[in-house]
């Protein structure tokens, strides 16, 4: 993509793949760690007695609520447990395993890949962490094995504000 003109050497024009490779090799395989929240107010400079920077107070993010630095996370992962996205679901699909014919319609129709087949138990499995309750699977199921049940009916329902997860 370089836009060099004139008599530059051909070698210089190309993206330096070897260099990039060497750089990548040098980059240490550092596991992504959750970085500590930055440490608060700076001390006031000498001779500034009027409004010390302490006026900004301190910001403390509890350890269990810290977000990884820049939201950068390890990859590839089968499922990103750091960022569960289902906490605004209003209804969830409940399966009747007796009626289910294992036709995989739910598996095919789910936009978030929340249905999978448990081969050991030979039944469909639902992923509560990423299902948004869109009910496409409920509508698509030819065996009428799925039912949309309000989250409020469940002990662990995500719309229960007192216990979101």
């Amino acid at each position: 993509m370089k836009t060099k003109t004139g008599k530059t050497k051909e070698k210089d024009r190309r993206i330096n793949v070897q260099g990039l490779k060497a750089k990548a090799l040098k980059a240490k395989a550092v596991p992504v760690k959750i970085r500590k929240a930055a440490s608060n107010a700076t001390p006031a400079a000498p001779g500034t007695p009027i409004m010390p920077e302490a006026i900004f107070g301190t910001i403390r993010v509890p350890r269990d609520r810290e977000v990884p630095f820049g939201a950068i996370t390890p990859a590839p992962v089968r499922q990103q447990d750091l960022f569960i996205t289902s906490n605004w679901r209003v209804v969830r699909p409940v399966i009747d395993h007796e009626k289910c014919t294992r036709c995989f319609s739910c598996y095919i129709s789910c936009p978030d890949s929340c249905w999978s087949f448990n081969e050991a138990e030979e039944k469909m499995e639902w992923n509560w962490k990423f299902c948004k309750g869109c009910q496409i699977c409920v509508h698509e199921c030819p065996a009428d094995a799925l039912e949309a049940v309000p989250e409020l009916d469940f002990e662990d329902g995500v719309v229960r504000l007192e216990k979101p997860f």
């Binding site: 500034t48 990859a75 960022f83």
Partner: protein
């Protein structure tokens, strides 16, 4: 070898990027900043600078390209002006949230009302709350220096934020002045190579910019805000190092001019400060003890330093070079934060604002005299008659 050259603001910014040894540059033409990219493309073509020079298909693409480059671990550089700055707006927040310390040079241009091309700070000022570091310069020398200082501060592991390095279009970007170019060794001592903490690499795969939950948004914002509490210390360190290595005398946050015994003060950002200094000389000859405070950083806002510098004056004129239509003072942007900074002082000075230098208008010496006259009248009457004056459009 230390060289002295006559360089315009744009040429000085390009030299700054060259000395910072940027690795990826993305361009898209819009005047007046575009002269920076003209200079840089020449440098890349001549083999003076070993960087990837990419043409974006627009400003949104420009900032996206350098964001990607920065995510991969490169020191990246881009820039824009006026409506170009606003066209790239969407990418500003993710760039700061994802902590990519690339740099964007902005040479101010009026936003279209429609189709003005003169210098006005509203374009960049609109983006001031996107989590970037930001500041204005007053001379080509300072734009060269600030390009290096901003990379140093932005790439500090305690900071890791992108930077807007702003200069007035035309007044600064197209008027040459003497610029001292340092030795490469000095720059390398000041600015170590950029090391991304988690670069995109096939050998150590990571996800950048994933979806986070709403309940993770607040702690992430708090963590970013906490970072800004640490930035002033990093700026102090970087400026002290810069002054030591390059032999300059920058105050880290604000430039003070004739403030030792000042009773009145102008508060102004950018290159109009040069005219302001001349006006101050004339006004002082007539016996008015007046000085000037010019913030070098807008984000983080130097609250404490401004309050301290203006704690002894009687009245301050905030010279607004950007607009905030319908804002608290119905004028510009600076006065809001200036007044807020002075609120906790035991004895607050009177503060008013002057709309000047808009749409590429020149702020004349007479305009500064007019502002000084109003300040004196305010102090005499012990009353802030108005919080905003539109210079040239006021009834006498």
């Amino acid at each position: 070898m230390v060289q002295e050259k006559m360089l315009s603001g744009c040429a000085a910014a390009a030299q700054g990027a060259k000395f910072a040894e940027v690795e990826v540059i993305c361009s898209f033409p819009i005047r007046p900043y575009t002269a920076i990219m003209m200079e840089l493309s020449k440098m890349v073509a001549n083999g003076e600078l070993d960087a990837e020079f990419i043409h974006g298909e627009g400003e949104h693409a420009q900032v996206s390209v350098v964001l990607g480059a920065s995510a991969a671990g490169a020191r990246a550089y881009t820039g824009s002006s006026g409506v170009g700055v606003t066209y790239a707006f969407e990418v500003y927040s993710p760039a700061a949230g994802g902590r990519y310390p690339f740099q964007m040079a902005i040479a101010d241009r009026t936003l279209d009302p429609p189709g003005d091309f003169g210098s006005e700070h509203t374009d960049a000022m609109s983006a001031r709350d996107q989590g970037w570091l930001m500041g204005w310069v007053a001379t080509p020398q300072e734009i060269f220096d600030n390009t290096l200082i901003n990379y140093r501060v932005g790439e500090d592991p305690r900071v890791m934020l992108p930077q807007f390095v702003c200069q007035d279009g035309y007044f600064l970007s197209h008027i040459p002045d003497r610029v001292v170019l340092p030795e490469m060794a000095q720059v390398r001592e000041f600015l170590p190579p950029y090391k991304a903490p988690h670069p995109l690499s096939p050998l150590c795969p990571v996800s950048h910019g994933p979806q986070i939950r709403p309940d993770q948004g607040a702690p992430m914002d708090a963590q970013r805000a906490a970072t800004f509490l640490d930035v002033p210390e990093v700026i102090r360190e970087a400026t002290a190092d810069f002054n030591r290595i390059f032999g300059r005398k920058y105050d880290p946050f604000i430039e003070k001019y004739r403030m030792e015994d000042a009773e009145y003060a102008f508060f102004i950002q950018g290159a109009h400060a040069n005219t302001c200094k001349n006006a101050i000389e004339h006004l002082r000859k007539q016996g008015l003890k007046i000085g000037m405070v010019r913030p070098r950083w807008i984000r983080p806002w130097p609250t404490n330093e401004i309050a301290y510098a203006l704690s002894k004056v009687k009245a301050v004129a905030s010279v607004e070079t950007s607009t905030s239509y319908g804002g608290a003072m119905r004028g510009g942007n600076l006065i809001h934060e200036l007044r807020a900074s002075l609120y906790d002082l035991p004895k607050r000075p009177m503060v008013t604002s002057f709309m000047a230098g808009l749409g590429g208008d020149v702020i004349l010496l007479e305009d500064f005299y007019y502002m000084a006259k109003i300040l004196r009248q305010m102090v005499k009457d012990k009353k802030t008659h108005k919080v905003v004056y539109w210079v040239g459009f006021e009834e006498e």
